[in-house]
Symmetry: none
Subunit: 203 residues, 4 copies
């Protein structure tokens, strides 16, 4: 791969804006269902000018993915650095995850719906980072089982349950919605952790 050529701060700012705007459009009409012309309209740019910023449609899609993935990976790092019991760490991870989902509803929609549209290296890179995050969750759960805090079960399966419960909120969790991310996270943590715990804090 040729090294990405250096760009002016103006260019970088503008590109970021385009990535965010386009995420909204992709979330509404789907990646394949959105034409370049539609993106041009939304970004108030001619085709040539748009391509000046995005390189290609798929590169734009990858940028949207990265925008979320960067945050998700960073949240996993914060959780790891924060330490605490598995219960505390899983609670924090859920809180951070739902916060991202609520703050980037469009990006996350794209992320969870359109990842099969990534190809080649971009797809590989994306899968790698996704797996990395999932493993960080699985590590917490495995630790909890090992310590006896969580009941004996297949950690991968429990992880998948947790991920499903949390990720699936992308369909309805919105910044201006009925539930706040933090409230939902708290309730989910209660349900899920009580469900897997050996002692039940609530009682």
């Amino acid at each position: 791969m040729a090294p990405a050529k250096p760009r002016s701060p103006n260019w970088v700012t503008r590109r970021q804006a385009i990535v965010d705007t386009s995420a909204r459009i992709f979330a509404k009409s789907g990646y394949h269902g959105t034409g370049i012309a539609e993106l041009c309209d939304a970004n108030e740019l001619g085709k040539g000018a748009l391509y000046h910023y995005i390189g290609s449609k798929e590169e734009l899609l990858a940028a949207i993915h990265d925008r979320v993935m960067d945050e998700v990976i960073r949240s996993a790092e914060r959780v790891e650095q924060a330490g605490g019991t598995p219960r505390q760490r899983l609670t924090m991870a859920g809180d951070e995850l739902l916060d991202i989902i609520a703050r980037y509803p469009d990006h996350v929609w794209v992320f969870l719906h359109e990842f099969p549209a990534l190809t080649g290296d971009r797809a590989a890179q994306f899968r790698k980072r996704r797996r990395e995050y999932e493993r960080s969750i699985e590590a917490i759960i495995a630790a909890g089982i090992k310590s006896g805090e969580f009941r004996k079960a297949n950690p991968r399966l429990i992880t998948l349950a947790w991920l499903g419960m949390h990720n699936y909120t992308y369909l309805w969790l919105k910044p201006e919605g009925k539930f706040t991310a933090h409230d939902v996270a708290k309730q989910f943590a209660t349900v899920f952790i009580d469900g897997i715990a050996t002692d039940h804090g609530a009682e």
Copy 2:
């Protein structure tokens, strides 16, 4: 809408086979990413003949949706007819749902990824049935809360958690996979119902 033309049994059988085969292709390449030519190849049919059976690409997509939705709605009816405590009914619902997901992995993938591609009446009809199913789950949960079996919480939120946990399995639950649908369902039920229950069966 014009009443559906009566068709020969042969036609119906062949159409069903085409719907199933096409689900596989859509799951692999996406609805927009799949061309009619590819469907023709997969079904070993010329374009004219294919259209003889499918009417249009979107009608084919709708048929794939219906194939799953019919099963899902029917499972909800079975659950209702079976009766029992909320705990029992929720367990059964999860078992049936995962069974469908495992038996129709391609259809379900399409169902959960490509529903935004449906337009007009077809989209409305689909949303209506989907909501209907979700309400049947919510009713069980609300009943459990009312009866005191489940702890006090927003039933909609709990429903969404349950749906996320179960629906999300479409990403990894396969007929030939490591976990059977029934096993997964049992474990999910344990976790989830323990998580929301007021008394904990495990203790």
Copy 3:
């Protein structure tokens, strides 16, 4: 490469006509200078229908190349089978070559001007066959030198001189032109073979 799917005789005929018509357009405006739209006009076909026959613009270009290359290779085979002295064989080769150039002026123009536009396997295949032909000429010249009929010289260099003299006629040799291919070939043979011969038949 996937095996070319079988085509109806109608399709094959029509395709051949398209190849020939398009050669004329490419010869006039150049390969890169000709748009698909222009080809559609010339062939009285819509874009979709044109692609039904050509596969891609470059495949069309390759078909034009093949049309000539097939003839050229066949002419080399005829020369070989005809036998005779090097002088006779070289004369015959020139006669056959100019005949092809005169009969396919457009194809040959494309062949000699646009071969760098071929890529990948097609380019390799083309270079291979071209070299094959050049070697058949070089073999004749080398035989003449060895037998003493032609004077001592670098056979490759003499071959290149011969090829230049003959190929370059594509710029002016036309079926309806001032000179016939056969006349030109006869005069070229006289000049060239006298130029390299050790005895001069004319005297």
Copy 4:
């Protein structure tokens, strides 16, 4: 046409360098196959700056043509001034021509491949100078026939043979190649002039 604006010596020097560098790129990728961006890269200049020097892409192409044509025309003048027998003049013309082809392989490639891309006045001007050169060769040959040095033949046809033999070397004659321009020219002269001569120097 407006009179060419007067330019600083710096500008002229830089432009010449750009013309030569661009010839290399055009020779590699073709005129239509080369984008302005590629020329900018090769010349290490932004688009605006490049246009400051070249005016337009076609003007750049014309400059490449002129670079060669100027030399070719000048060589014809030198041949004329040098005088001598037709045989001597033709030998000298071949030597000069191959020298140019070997020294400007890229320019000549462009010259011989891309001249159809010139339009309007530029195309007319180019054709005029090209014809001028060809006539100077034809004049030598006609003189040789008239004087009896060359055998009776259509001078135009003999000229075309000579031009083909020499011009066609652009495909393989390179400064660092196996054959030097001077050697090739000498051998070509021997072959060609012996081929058309009435007496044969070799005997």
